[in-house]
């Protein structure tokens, strides 16, 4: 059974640690983002909790275990598992990070950036096509937050994303928090990044709140993507700008720490909805003005 989904749907990433609370509060959300890896490797009880939600609320599918950027062939057995979960969840899309997390013999379990070169982009493009042939819903790539740069990177973030998405037809899952803190940590203009994205490429959005990290070996504080605190206003300002030029299907609040701060989570959902409502009203007003002048 298909369930009507408001546009854009506003929701959270499902976390089994607060699964009970989430199930009791479904009315607050239009969608749940399911991390497919939780269905694959967190045990039968977590998977069955998630599958029990099918039909109760629309879902979107997200992954953390593909490591599309590792310079080895894709793990097709893993993709088959993802495909079978996607069949059960019936999401509008499946998303993964433009990153790598492992190499043979090591798994950092953390998303790492790739050298942004045309050669690497070509390798990723070939892999995206394989993913698209395996998974029966549109594939989206997500921009990650990163702390370091490869010395041979020759393209900007947005050029790299545009090249890969443009050649494959993959959509973008734009993580505005990642954009917000990358811009701060690496000193670039996030608005220029957004302006350089082709209109309509953003199919889903992630928002989250992180922390400021002070370490004695750092010259200045660094913003970290900890998914632990309220979404900063600066990230929501970027969301406003996204909504002017893109029509994402879903806006998902990610929270992985301080999970029991339920009031903060619900307050963030209200703040996101308020931003969406303002942009919608402004867009409607602009459309009305255009219609009146015709």
């Amino acid at each position: 059974m298909k369930i009507a989904r408001p546009f854009p749907a506003v929701g959270i990433g499902y976390r089994s640690a607060i699964g009970g609370w989430t199930r009791e509060n479904l009315a607050h959300f239009d969608t749940l983002e399911i991390t497919v890896d939780h269905c694959i490797s967190s045990g039968e009880s977590v998977a069955s909790e998630i599958f029990d939600l099918v039909g109760q609320i629309p879902m979107t599918a997200h992954g953390v275990g593909l490591s599309i950027g590792t310079d080895v062939p894709l793990d097709l057995a893993y993709l088959d598992k993802v495909a079978s979960i996607v069949e059960r969840l019936q999401p509008p899309a499946y998303s993964e990070h433009l990153a790598f997390t492992r190499a043979p013999g090591r798994d950092l379990a953390n998303l790492l950036p790739l050298p942004r070169t045309e050669e690497i982009a070509e390798a990723i493009i070939a892999k995206v096509r394989i993913v698209q042939s395996h998974i029966p819903v549109p594939f989206l790539l997500e921009n990650i937050s990163y702390l370091f740069e490869w010395p041979d990177s020759a393209m900007t973030d947005v050029e790299f994303l545009n090249l890969i998405c443009g050649k494959t037809g993959a959509g973008l899952l734009l993580d505005v928090e990642n954009l917000y803190l990358n811009a701060h940590n690496h000193g670039f203009d996030p608005h220029a990044f957004l302006d350089d994205l082709p209109a309509g490429i953003v199919k889903e959005v992630h928002v989250a709140g992180g922390i400021t990290v002070h370490k004695d070996f750092l010259a200045r504080p660094v913003l970290a993507d900890s998914h632990s605190h309220p979404v900063p206003d600066g990230a929501l300002d970027l969301l406003d700008r996204v909504l002017v030029r893109h029509r994402p299907d879903a806006i998902v609040l990610e929270r992985d720490d301080r999970l029991r701060e339920f009031d903060e989570i619900l307050a963030d959902i209200r703040r996101i909805r308020a931003r969406v409502d303002v942009v919608k009203r402004e867009n409607d007003h602009a459309s009305a003005l255009v219609a009146a002048s015709d």
């Binding site: 045990g43 492992r102 013999g105 798994d107 953390n110 690497i120 370091f148």
Partner: protein, 240 residues
């Protein structure tokens, strides 16, 4: 010829999972090849973040072990990092790496306190059980029933009665005595529990490794009550 990306990724991950990067020991002169041109300060930050996330997973599996480690904690974690770099994203695999590491360490040197090995073993058993779904059981009655030891239950011979540590009831050291503990998820619950299994009961459970009909077990006095009790605690599975 420039190194292939995979070589560079492997080198990078080796560095990010090294004690040098995590603890800042060799930040000025990393010995890993293929890292020329990288700014090492953000690499060290990346290494710290990844290490902290990994240790959060491990501490979540061994909360009482870490509480009891006391002053040895920092040295032990440092030695663990040097011996066991991260090779798997899954919580249970990181917990297994840590458990194997401490077992080998405590084989060579008696842990302090001495009951730490029992506590760690119990916590690892609980970590392995979490997330499993318990199948519903038919009611254990009638001679047509067959029984089998719960294959998911972990039987742990211990040198201390560590149960009070898990019940949070005492600050006293656990009593020194040899006993068999069973760790399992009881019926209609989601969290692992710990039971003491007397030697005679353990002997019966070992006999019931495969499906066995009630009639085969004979007519020992009180056997039906014992079977019913074991089924109630989840130590025995029932089949019609």
């Amino acid at each position: 010829m420039p190194a292939r990306l995979l070589q560079r990724q492997t080198s990078l991950l080796e560095y990010l999972t090294s004690a040098d990067a995590i603890f800042g020991d060799g930040i000025d002169a990393p010995s890993v090849p293929h890292l020329q041109g990288f700014d090492l300060v953000p690499l060290r930050l990346e290494a710290c973040f990844s290490h902290e996330k990994r240790m959060e997973k491990i501490i979540a599996a061994f909360p009482r072990t870490f509480e009891l480690l006391g002053g040895d904690k920092a040295t032990l974690v440092r030695d663990f990092v040097a011996a066991c770099p991260s090779v798997d994203i899954r919580r249970i695999e990181n917990a297994r790496q840590f458990y194997d590491f401490v077992c080998a360490r405590w084989e060579a040197t008696q842990p302090q306190p001495s009951y730490l090995r029992d506590v760690a073993s119990c916590e690892f058993a609980m970590a392995r059980l979490r997330g499993r779904v318990q199948p519903s059981q038919p009611v254990a009655s009638g001679r047509a029933m067959r029984f089998r030891r719960n294959r998911d239950a972990v039987f742990l011979p211990c040198a201390h009665d560590i149960r009070p540590i898990f019940e949070g009831a005492t600050s006293e050291a656990p009593a020194r005595r040899d006993l068999m503990l069973a760790i399992l998820i009881p019926p209609r619950t989601n969290e692992p529990a710990i039971f003491e299994v007397p030697a005679s009961v353990y002997a019966l459970l070992v006999e019931l490794d495969n499906w066995t009909g009630r009639a085969t077990l004979g007519a020992m006095e009180g056997l039906d009550e014992l079977i019913s009790d074991l089924v109630g605690h989840g130590l025995l599975e029932v089949s019609r």
